[in-house]
């Protein structure tokens, strides 16, 4: 191992270590701009020049590997002259507009200039000006400030998996831009803001809102997917002003996705509720005091229970709720005598419930995922569902692993993935075929990709099979799960689950499923699952943080049934949907306003604190549930502090472990026939920015609503225009159409999660599509007819 000396301190480091890394381990600071430990070495800013004994010229520390006996000086006269020279050149074209720059106060260029520059510049000529580019609603560009470190360019290529930004032009004319000023497409694009060492790329929603040193930092946990990224919630007064990643190598490294970064902009949506709302006799809504609202709630519940009994009361809770809230929620429902509570609003087929694991666990750590040689994704589009889990899969591929996706449509992955796509509605058949290929493993080399996959699975040592949320949304979910299990058995592989929401794991563990209580213990009398409530004629509903109208498969029907129910209590952040059917709306703490804990996909328990004060009279969810339970004289609701609830949760849930058996016992395999499609099959799932109430309200993240169809299918169906009318048995809607070869023939993709498409009912149902005329030019979504 090479033995070297930096600034008189000697150290022995592994061969291949760079001077920068060696200095870092000695705690010696070398200034830099373009170097980044997670990116490839570009060595183009030249800021890290150091003086190496016997080298004729200073060398860049980030790109120079150490050699035995090297003597390095980071602050000799030669090194300092080099650093001063480089800074003088970097500042030649920099506008020095720090007073109006959002990066001011957290700017490496500013800091390094203060620390290392010669205060005098020789440059008196004109500075160059670079035209700003519009690269979408998330990032503001101020390209004159750019020092061409190319971190953003390398990030796009190496982490984002899409080359979007590039350096065009040469020498003095070099500038960073996207090709033909296209909006940046990566779901990780916001990280480029953090990477930019100057103010060239800054956050658009945060622009001119505050100075970095004025902000209060609160450690948070992202509530938007099951990866559980650690965040740094930054606030000023009562307002969350931005969300940045908090470094945690085990979970999110130093990244977060755009959903986690920008969803906070939905907090001030116009329909935010900050005072209890009570529906009056005339149907109008009135703001009331908490005392009145609670009284009305208790009276409403009492009346409903007296008339219909607890068997007609159902509870739906969001899996974005904290463990504490989930735990109290199930205690409330079960305490009132109702077994009907669930968090799985999007699921249609619950036949496999008894066989489900204790909680949807990855069954390994995220870091281990990077080293898997063969990963099969079953209906899991991780890029949009768990962007930073997806990043680990990307790294697995970079490490020489292989990822295969089995799905209903071709997905737009940002790294090479072998994709096996079912024919319209024949998802079960695809899995079945794959299982059948295991019987013919020793036949000659195969061309059929399914046969190749079977061979690879059989040859691999313990391959990993990951089950995605879209599999659970499928109407034949139980059959598909049985198929997946048999494939895992045939290949000797492991099954892991990609949990859908931030606290899906917590929801299972806390007992917010109809058949299991806290800790996953079966309950005596199992209740009905979420999707059954609409037909079961439930008369009372307690909704916690959910919008069944867009969060469930049959949204329009859900709203209708809720409106017809005798009593609906909605504990929520937002009122728009609840106003259609609720009797009482209780305002609850939203993201960054409450404390609690989540269990992420790995089984990692992570807690978070409130970053800002509650708006108006909103209250933390757990307190609302506690008061309700206490007022209803239920046992075990005498908590005063959150920590007491957490302790009770811990006690009830017990030790759950990270590596859990995937299935308990599975019902026998069912025959799987293709879903009926006539004339077309309507596919659909929740798009990345429509998945939960907060992100749906985040203005900068909105994607236009579009139906998608294969151009050939459009031709076959005689569709030429850009607008179609899609009708199912449930209803019809007029939508903008995008031609997309990712969608298999015989299908049309219509996303869920929009109130406009809720009338179509569940996905994977037959539909017909005809050309429609536009009444007037409306590029975005069109209202339901």
């Amino acid at each position: 191992m090479p033995h070297i000396e930096i600034d008189g301190q000697s150290i022995e480091v592994a061969a291949g270590t760079t001077i920068m890394e060696a200095a870092e381990s000695l705690g010696i600071y070398i200034p830099f701009f373009c170097y980044h430990p997670k990116l490839s070495v570009a060595a183009n800013c030249r800021m890290c020049l150091v003086d190496v004994e016997k080298a004729p010229k200073p060398l860049p520390a980030c790109a120079t590997p150490v050699a035995d006996g090297m003597k390095i000086a980071t602050a000799s006269r030669k090194a300092k002259m080099a650093q001063q020279g480089v800074l003088e050149f970097l500042l030649i074209n920099h506008p020095l507009d720090c007073p109006i720059c959002d990066q001011g106060g957290e700017c490496p260029l500013q800091d390094i200039t203060m620390g290392f520059a010669n205060p005098h510049s020789h440059y008196q000529e004109e500075k160059r000006v670079v035209e700003d580019k519009d690269i979408g609603p998330l990032i503001t560009t101020e390209m004159t400030r750019c020092i061409q470190c190319t971190r953003c360019v390398r990030f796009g290529q190496e982490i984002g998996g899409i080359k979007e930004l590039g350096a065009t032009g040469r020498g003095e004319h070099m500038a960073i831009g996207t090709y033909v000023a296209k909006a940046v497409q990566s779901e990780l694009s916001g990280n480029m803001i953090d990477l930019c060492p100057v103010g060239a790329l800054t956050s658009k929603p945060f622009r001119y809102k505050a100075r970095s040193w004025e902000l209060k930092h609160t450690p948070g946990v992202c509530p938007h997917c099951s990866t559980g990224c650690n965040t740094d919630v930054q606030s000023l007064g009562k307002e969350v002003l931005r969300v940045l990643p908090r470094h945690n190598e085990a979970v999110n490294e130093q990244w977060i996705c755009d959903k986690g970064r920008y969803a906070y902009t939905g907090l001030n949506a116009p329909d935010r509720v900050t005072k209890p709302l009570l529906r009056q006799k005339d149907g109008e809504w009135a703001e009331v005091s908490w005392a009145e609202a609670l009284e009305a709630t208790l009276a409403g519940l009492d009346k409903m229970l007296a008339r219909h009994g607890a068997d007609k009361l159902a509870g739906l809770i969001s899996a974005q709720s904290s463990n504490e809230e989930l735990f109290l929620f199930q205690g409330l429902l079960r305490g009132l005598g109702s077994p009907h509570l669930d968090h799985r609003l999007r699921q249609q087929d619950f036949r496999a419930d008894a066989a489900m694991p204790r909680y949807p666990a990855l069954s390994m750590t995220l870091e281990e995922l990077e080293r898997e040689p063969l990963i099969v994704l079953c209906h899991a589009f991780t890029r949009h569902q768990q962007p930073l889990t997806n990043h680990r899969l990307h790294k697995a591929v970079l490490n020489g692993g292989k990822v295969v996706s089995i799905d209903s449509i071709h997905q737009d992955f940002n790294f090479p993935v072998t994709q096996l796509v079912a024919e319209a509605g024949a998802d079960g058949h695809l899995y079945q075929q794959l299982a059948e290929h295991f019987a013919h493993l020793h036949e000659a080399p195969q061309r059929d990709p399914l046969a190749v996959l079977a061979q690879e699975l059989a040859a691999a040592d313990n391959p990993l099979i990951l089950i995605g949320s879209a599999l659970l949304h499928h109407p034949q979910a139980a059959d598909l799960l049985a198929q997946v299990e048999s494939i895992a058995e045939l290949s000797g592989g492991r099954i892991g689950w990609l949990a859908e929401e931030a606290n899906s794991a917590g929801a299972w563990l806390s007992g917010c499923v109809p058949h299991r209580g806290p800790g996953g213990h079966p309950v005596d009398a199992a209740g009905l699952p979420a999707d059954a409530y609409w037909e079961a004629g439930m008369q009372g509903f307690i909704l916690f943080g959910v919008e069944p109208g867009v969060d469930s498969m049959r949204g329009a029907e859900a709203v209708q049934r809720l409106a017809n129910a005798e009593f609906v209590l909605s504990i929520s952040h937002f009122a728009q949907e609840a106003r259609q059917y609720a009797d009482v709306i209780l305002p609850m703490a939203a993201f960054a306003e409450g404390a609690g804990s989540y269990v992420n996909n790995e089984g990692r328990l992570q807690s978070f604190r409130a970053a800002v004060k509650l708006p108006g009279e909103a209250r933390p969810g757990w307190k609302i549930l506690r008061v309700l339970g206490d007022s209803l004289k239920l046992p075990d609701f005498q908590y005063n502090e959150l920590s007491e609830v957490s302790a009770a949760w811990q006690h009830a849930v017990g030790d759950y472990g990270m590596d859990i058996p995937p299935f308990q016992a599975f019902p026998p395999l069912h025959a799987t026939q293709a879903l009926p499609a006539g004339p077309l099959l309507r596919l659909g799932d929740w798009p990345i920015y429509q998945g939960d109430p907060l992100v749906r309200r985040a203005a900068p993240l909105h994607n236009p609503l579009r139906a998608r169809m294969h151009p050939q299918q459009a031709h076959l169906s005689g569709i030429q225009g850009e607008v179609v009318e899609v009708s199912t048995a449930a209803g019809k809607v007029t939508l903008a159409l995008e031609l997309d070869t990712h969608i298999p023939l015989g299908c049309i993709w219509v996303p869920l999660g929009y109130s406009e498409t809720a009338v179509l009912g569940a996905a994977y149902t037959p539909c017909s599509v005809v050309m429609a005329a536009l009444p007037e030019r409306q590029p975005e979504s069109l209202r339901a007819s």
Binding site: K163, T168, G169, T178, Y179
Partner: protein
């Protein structure tokens, strides 16, 4: 967008490199596209990038880096005047100024008759005879205002082979 002949030529260039290194053929592919179409429109650059399975931005980076690629239509004769160190020290700025005044165009511009384009380029490796310019495939060295005037006169006279 490109003729069969050009596509074949690009495929030939592509075949010189390993399958995963298609970007190695980018320089040649852009040159072939430009030779056929005169200059590289945005759509043409995207088209060439797609031919080689590269992100369009990557082709755009290359096309904007080299002065030999023209991103807009150019005149019949393109004066590529070197502006790098040796030529600059020997008065390349005077050469550029003279050409600019004589032709009535600035850098990167084309005369109205479509005959001349003026461009400043990076070092072309002829430092010993600075200042110099490139015209077509040929270098013109030790330039003076007089030699430039003579050159322009011959070109305006319709000559294409000026020694």
């Amino acid at each position: 967008m490109l003729s069969e002949k050009s596509l074949e030529a690009i495929a030939f260039e592509r075949s010189k490199y390993p399958p995963e290194e298609s970007r190695s053929a980018l320089l040649a592919a852009l040159r072939i596209a430009q030779e056929e179409q005169g200059y590289l429109r945005d759509e043409l650059i995207t088209y060439v990038a797609n031919l080689l399975d590269l992100p369009p931005i990557q082709a755009f980076e290359v096309a904007t880096f080299y002065t030999m690629y023209d991103l807009k239509p150019v005149g019949r004769h393109k004066f590529c005047v070197c502006g790098s160190v040796s030529c600059f020290l020997n008065g390349s700025d005077r050469i550029i100024r003279h050409l600019s005044e004589r032709l009535g165009i600035g850098l990167g511009e084309t005369t109205e008759d479509g005959l001349f384009t003026l461009q400043e380029v990076e070092c072309l490796g002829a430092c010993k005879d600075a200042p110099m310019l490139q015209l077509g495939d040929r270098y013109y060295e030790n330039l003076t205002p007089e030699s430039l005037d003579a050159l322009i006169a011959e070109l305006q006279g319709g000559s294409t082979d000026v020694r």
